[in-house]
Symmetry: C2
């Protein structure tokens, strides 16, 4: 988890990441790898292995590689004691291990956890930074303690980045449409990753003007498929678009079982836009809570565009939201009927003025993956509805 995050941060400082390794916590392997990496690179960042238990051996390995002993820091122990005290607890004896760092290194206080980090230089002036493993602790410590120390020591002209989220476009078609933009060595660089119906494209360059110009051309070529560019995640874009219009959303989730609501509520401020979510996994819940008829929840009907529309209408009426999105499908393993085989998901989107439905069949064999496809399609539908771009969705039918 930490690697990709740090790689982006380092790129922003203009520090090129040459190598990333996942190491076991066998002390000998750790020592060998640290030695190898410090020999090759100006900066080595290691995360994790700073916990209180004996299998946390980063401190010892770093001390060995640096050729020094571990040194006890009373103020680090004091910080651990205070941290426990705030929760009415006392640290265990094993926490004391966390107050030791290699002699001569700089202790980096951890505002979020018990494990402090440290920063050291080896005999060749190469830098070793050790950060705690939990991403939240690592990230805060990185910002507070490392950025301002590393940038002047190692920074190069930063690479500027621009990110696009695209929906409804297969990765291979995207590649064909990009042509020479994706070749190696071109500036700006363009990379892409595909996840369940969503493409994430990154442009990067040291030259902000070249980047802006390519971003403009990209925007023009892919206008139809671009869902967001200033937000890292679709749900952030959606919460922002709904908030700025003072509109609200209700969800009726069968196949995704709360996934969409969970994603939306991960965004601060979502309480103003998610009016209510109904996880109606069973036919009974669909009838009881959303007012569906028994006929609408029969096999053969329960995964249908008509049932999805009835679910959305029920959710909107019950909640009073501006928009309602409903979905019902067969995630597998197994399930499905003659007209809706496994992997089929029916979506409906309704508001006071509009009611549309959509049927999609996603690649089967992995339940979570079908649910992720459904999640991305659902977020795309609502985002397009809010921004008046539903016309660009293929296969959408008026209800």
């Amino acid at each position: 988890l930490n690697g990709p995050w740090l790689a982006r941060e380092l790129a922003g400082l203009g520090i090129q990441v040459c190598e990333m390794r996942l190491l076991g916590d066998t002390p000998a392997d750790l020592v060998r790898s640290l030695r190898e990496l410090l020999g090759r690179h100006h900066l080595v960042i290691i995360t994790g292995g700073l916990g209180p238990t004996l299998d946390d051996c980063t401190r010892d390995a770093a001390a060995e590689v640096l050729g020094v002993e571990l040194e006890y820091h009373a103020e680090a122990w004091q910080a651990i004691v205070e941290r426990f005290a705030r929760r009415g607890l006392e640290p265990a004896e094993s926490n004391r291990r966390q107050a030791f760092v290699p002699a001569g290194s700089k202790l980096l206080p951890n505002a979020r956890g018990t494990a402090p980090g440290f920063l050291a230089r080896d005999g060749h002036g190469h830098i070793l930074a050790a950060l705690p493993g939990p991403p939240r602790e690592m990230q805060v410590l990185w910002q507070a303690e490392l950025v301002h120390r590393l940038a002047p020591a190692l920074g190069a002209p930063p690479r500027h980045q621009h990110r696009f989220l695209l929906g409804g476009l297969p990765e291979s078609t995207f590649g064909d449409m990009c042509g020479a933009w994706m070749e190696r060595g071109v500036d700006p660089l363009l990379g892409v990753s595909a996840k369940e119906g969503l493409l994430v494209a990154f442009l990067s360059s040291q030259d902000p003007l070249a980047l802006e110009s390519r971003a403009g051309a990209f925007r023009e070529r892919f206008a139809r498929w671009i869902l967001a560019e200033e937000h890292e995640r679709l749900e952030q874009a959606l919460v922002a678009e709904l908030s700025s219009r003072a509109q609200t959303l209700a969800l009726a989730e069968s196949i995704t079982g709360g996934l969409i609501a969970a994603r939306l509520t991960s965004v601060p401020g979502s309480s103003a836009v998610l009016r209510e979510g109904f996880v109606v996994y069973s036919p009974e819940a669909k009838q009881r809570t959303l007012g569906l008829t028994p006929a609408q929840t029969q096999p053969g009907q329960i995964v249908s565009q008509a049932t999805a529309v009835a679910m959305a209408q029920g959710a909107r009426e019950r909640s009073g939201a501006t928009f309602a999105l409903a979905l019902t499908g067969y995630a597998g393993p197994g399930g499905g009927d003659a007209t809706s085989p496994e992997g089929t998901v029916c979506f409906a989107l309704t508001s006071r003025a509009l009611a549309y439905s959509l049927k999609r069949t996603f690649p089967i064999g992995d339940r979570e993956r079908v649910r992720q496809f459904a999640l991305h399609t659902a977020l795309e539908l609502v985002l397009r509805a809010v921004t008046g771009r539903l016309g660009e969705v293929e296969g959408l039918e008026p209800a």
Copy 2:
């Protein structure tokens, strides 16, 4: 994502994982790393970089390291064409790149995606296996094409593993209670990782009897905190326990906003146990759907044990489930009131016979992390209620 999965699989085959690297997709770096790794190890597995776009350069890098050309496989192209045809589409021209593999290597068909893998030996007989990046494709290909080829070539006595999930125990206390069990070099090996209130402990050994004996002692020492051992995730254990008793659950989620429902419904068979989920993020939804009074949703009351109990009762009455779990809290950033500061979460668990509530304060500063703590505590509460072990939860109050 693929690394930890493959590491477990390889350990099961008795193949020791010495090193794991994340590589950029710069061809030169890829070639250097592959050369270095193949020089050192009997087996190198590379995942990803087999897509249709130009930034997918695993094929080329592998061919260069092996000292051969890329070779076109008509049957691989045929499989790609058929895969697209099943969805009523035609492959893009760039997909043709995926039908090339290094000359002399064995093509590994991909039942789940367009990118086939390949298997080759270098001049020293070391094995290079290239697998597609998406975890589902990689895992299926691994099972179908690699396991039976690698085990006889490289396998050693497999390491047996035993996994425990524990709740309510700080990692440092766990370490102290383990003592010598966690020292390096002991057999069985014991490792632990902590995530938001949940500990995952792994025992492993080549000797199944030693493992079983240590697992027995572990079970005795940590009985009070062990939540599951046969299931990899808490939600799987919970679905299994509810199913076997033909009991059902309703959820009323405020702070977690659908997270618990989404986790439960990721488990096949959960439709029989999750009767209904209510994502009641707003005060209005809590009143309208769960029957709370306006007073119960006032600031100062909305995050309280009494309100959590009322939410659980509302969810149980509305759904008819055996158990209802409700939770309400302040995830931050900001929020909170005099009696319930940011990070406070109130839980309630009710059934026909019992009604309990619990108030916890989790470390703040990261919204998602507070929600994860709440998720784990909620799953633990329901699991303990279903198995009659609520008495072991500290701070639980009868409502």
